[in-house]
């Protein structure tokens, strides 16, 4: 067996794993975000008939008849439900309109002529028919637009949704703000911590490293729960502050932005400390003494020698923290208030709450895109290593 084949066999499990559990779900997520086939599947005859309707006149009788035939057909319950959900996200009201119409049609005799407008007056409203038409194409940008609070009007123009429904942009912005805040906090704590760790030796260095690693080995849920206990109004911190007389009434440290930032910074700190520590360790031992001997006061030496050499670690740490923070879900859910939820909780709501995988995928795409761009920028910047050994 050739060496090449052996090597190929060795990486096969990895390739299969990556393909199956990373690339395929990613592709499926992107695909569901732009797929619009659910309505077409549930109403095949309507789909054919509506293609020839231009939307300006009232819907012709042939179209109405096609819809009636589709509603009378024995469509599987699940498929019908999917279509109703999709239509309802386009035009509120479909959730009640379609099941009621279907029930009435099935109860009536097959031969009876049916006027949909008498079954439910909403059928005379052209908006429902237009929503039906919009939902028919195999591919749609509706989810992508909805993810950033936009929609297509009946004339297919892109407009902002009503302010009452426009929450995604605000939550997306909040997600980025929280991720940036957490990254800055991690950098502010992580850099001095890594510098201290790198400057020590022996058991002191090990003790500090374990202090960073221990949380990393602990379950995220346990760490977050621990903060609940520490930060609540009758928690350790408030009790201590009150006992020593610094405050009279408890500080609100949890179920608000403060709680989210404290817990997320703590959880993500190892991701900042370890890359900085690694880059500091690589700095030759005699550079700082050399800077001092050449006339650099401690702050100058830090600014001109240590910081530039620690920068690759600081950048990769920041990137790591930022990217992981963007996707945070459990920690803000447990330690934040209603105004501190991040985009992942909206994605989770669509995915598990309403089974709207298209919206979940579209929101996920808007999270994936900036992360990918950041990663590419970073890998461009860090192509030339500063310290060559």
């Amino acid at each position: 067996m050739s060496a090449r084949l052996k090597a190929l066999l060795l990486v096969t499990p990895l390739v299969v794993f990556l393909g199956l559990f990373f690339l395929w779900p990613l592709w499926m997520m992107i695909a569901t975000a732009v797929q619009g086939g659910t309505v077409r599947l549930a109403f095949p005859q309507t789909a054919t008939a509506i293609a020839s309707w231009d939307g300006s006149d009232p819907p012709p009788a042939a179209l109405q008849a096609a819809l009636i035939r589709d509603l009378r057909a024995d469509t599987p319950q699940e498929r019908f439900g999917d279509a109703v959900r999709t239509l309802n996200s386009q035009q509120a009201g479909f959730r009640t309109l379609l099941p009621r119409t279907a029930r009435t049609l099935r109860e009536a005799a097959e031969s009876d002529p049916v006027d949909l407008a008498t079954v439910d007056p909403r059928w005379s409203d052209q908006a429902y028919w237009l929503a039906l038409k919009r939902s028919m194409p195999a591919y749609t940008d509706a989810n992508l637009l909805a993810a950033i609070d936009l929609k297509r009007t009946d004339e297919a123009r892109i407009t902002p949704v009503e302010p009452d429904f426009a929450v995604n942009r605000a939550i997306m912005l909040r997600t980025f703000v929280i991720a940036i805040q957490v990254t800055l906090l991690c950098a502010a704590i992580g850099l001095p911590f890594a510098m201290l760790t790198a400057s020590l030796s022996g058991w002191k260095r090990n003790a500090l490293l374990i202090a960073v690693l221990l949380p990393l080995w602990t379950s995220l849920l346990v760490r977050t729960a621990a903060w609940l206990i520490l930060l609540q109004d009758s928690g350790l911190i408030n009790q201590t502050l009150r006992a020593i007389g610094l405050i009279d009434s408890p500080l609100s440290l949890i179920y608000n932005r403060t709680g989210v930032l404290i817990a997320m910074t703590h959880v993500l700190l190892p991701l900042m400390v370890l890359p900085i520590y690694a880059s500091l360790i690589a700095i030759p031992r005699n550079l700082m003494p050399a800077a001092a001997a050449l006339g650099a006061a401690p702050l100058q030496a830090f600014r001109h020698v240590l910081l530039p050499l620690a920068m690759p670690g600081l950048l990769s740490g920041s990137l790591l923290v930022f990217m992981v923070a963007l996707g945070y879900y459990i920690t803000p859910a447990l330690t934040g208030g209603a105004g501190d939820q991040m985009i992942s909780s909206v994605i989770a709501f669509y995915a598990t709450g309403t089974a709207n995988w298209g919206m979940a995928g579209a929101l996920g795409l808007f999270l994936l895109a900036p992360t990918t761009v950041l990663y590419i920028v970073y890998s461009r910047l860090s192509r030339t290593p500063l310290v060559q050994t």
């Binding site: 005699n286 550079l287 001997a293 050449l294 006339g295």
Partner: protein, 357 residues
């Protein structure tokens, strides 16, 4: 030997790490413009002494004066000394010219003046053409010259060098020795140079302080150390020597007569420091030892030739003198006596030294 005026003065300087005394109450002066080497085996305290002068170690006792000013309490960046480190310590993220400009930038020198001085400092080590490279693109020798140029660019009062040539190969090292000597001479620098290489110390220095276990064994010119070692450690550490143990049998003025353990008796011109009946060691350099057939020659010791080894420019004769083993150098044109033959090893009373055991 010139009497040093006191540009740098170590006054009863000590350094104790835990239970170990690394530098033990040293007291010595270095003159302005002098090239002084601190020479000693590892652990002799030479680097600690330099680090105390540079400000990286705090003395446990005593004081350091530079140009009349006490400096031991000053942080390194206020001492105005140029330090050249063992592994160059160039900043990897800066270009060569940024490296050399660093001390000037830290001192707030204006950009235009900085540029001229950097150019001058680079020209000094003849590496002006590498100004825009990064340190990693330079060879070891080039990096060392840049480190030197960086230490000289702000015209420090003193230049300290901590084994700066130890990472270079032999040829490059010898070349750099000459270059550093020339810079010292041309710029009138005061240099303190730490090394464990006695050849390097002898060829470069005005004076050498030989350190052993935190004490100065001898602080002298290179020829003083080689020709007139005062302790057994110096005699053995600098060059090669033959040591003959004995006891002072009598002394008249400078000349001492020493009864050797072998029963023979020798005279030495430099015996003023020793008393009758004191135990001493006679140190004779191999090139001062001559093989003769005349038992009446100066300080003639009966020897048996045990081996001769060809060394290119000279022949090394191994001799047995009673229990002790002697080495003599013979010119390559001299006829080497056959192995096993007997002769007398002779040396002039002025060509030996008496050292304390």
């Amino acid at each position: 030997m010139r009497e040093p005026d006191s540009f740098i003065h170590f006054k009863a300087i000590s350094k104790v790490f835990g239970a170990i005394t690394v530098v033990d109450a040293l007291d010595f002066h270095v003159a302005r413009g002098e090239f002084v080497s601190l020479l000693g085996p590892s652990g002799s305290g030479k680097t600690t002494l330099l680090m105390m002068l540079a400000g990286f170690e705090t003395p446990s006792g005593g004081s350091i004066h530079v140009d009349g000013r006490r400096v031991e309490h000053l942080p390194p960046y206020k001492r105005e000394m140029g330090v050249v480190f063992q592994n160059y310590a160039l900043f990897p993220h800066m270009t060569i010219s940024e490296n050399v400009a660093f001390p000037l930038k830290m001192r707030g020198v204006a950009r235009t003046e900085r540029d001229t001085r950097v150019k001058r400092a680079l020209d000094l080590v003849r590496l002006g053409h590498l100004a825009d490279r990064k340190p990693s693109q330079l060879s070891g020798g080039q990096q060392q010259r840049i480190a030197l140029s960086r230490a000289l660019v702000y015209e420090p009062k003193v230049v300290l060098m901590d084994e700066p040539l130890s990472a270079l190969d032999k040829q490059l090292r010898e070349h750099m020795q000459l270059e550093i000597r020339a810079l010292h001479r041309d710029l009138g620098l005061t240099v303190i140079f730490v090394t464990h290489d006695q050849g390097e110390a002898l060829t470069m220095s005005d004076r050498v302080a030989v350190l052993n276990r935190g004490k100065i064994e001898q602080f002298d010119t290179p020829s003083g150390l080689y020709d007139r070692p005062r302790t057994r450690f110096v005699a053995e550490f600098i060059g090669e020597t033959n040591l003959l143990a004995g006891r002072v049998a009598g002394r008249s003025g400078e000349t001492a007569t020493v009864a050797l353990g072998t029963g023979a008796s020798v005279t030495c011109d430099r015996g003023a420091a020793f008393e009758t009946a004191q135990d001493v060691i006679v140190s004779v350099r191999p090139e001062m030892l001559h093989l003769v057939q005349d038992p009446g020659a100066d300080n003639a010791l009966p020897v048996t030739i045990t081996d001769h080894v060809y060394h290119g420019d000279h022949i090394r004769l191994h001799l047995a003198c009673g229990e002790s083993h002697l080495v003599a150098r013979a010119g390559r044109r001299d006829a080497a006596p056959p192995i096993g033959s007997k002769a007398f090893a002779s040396f002039a009373p002025g060509d030996c030294s008496l050292v304390v055991p």
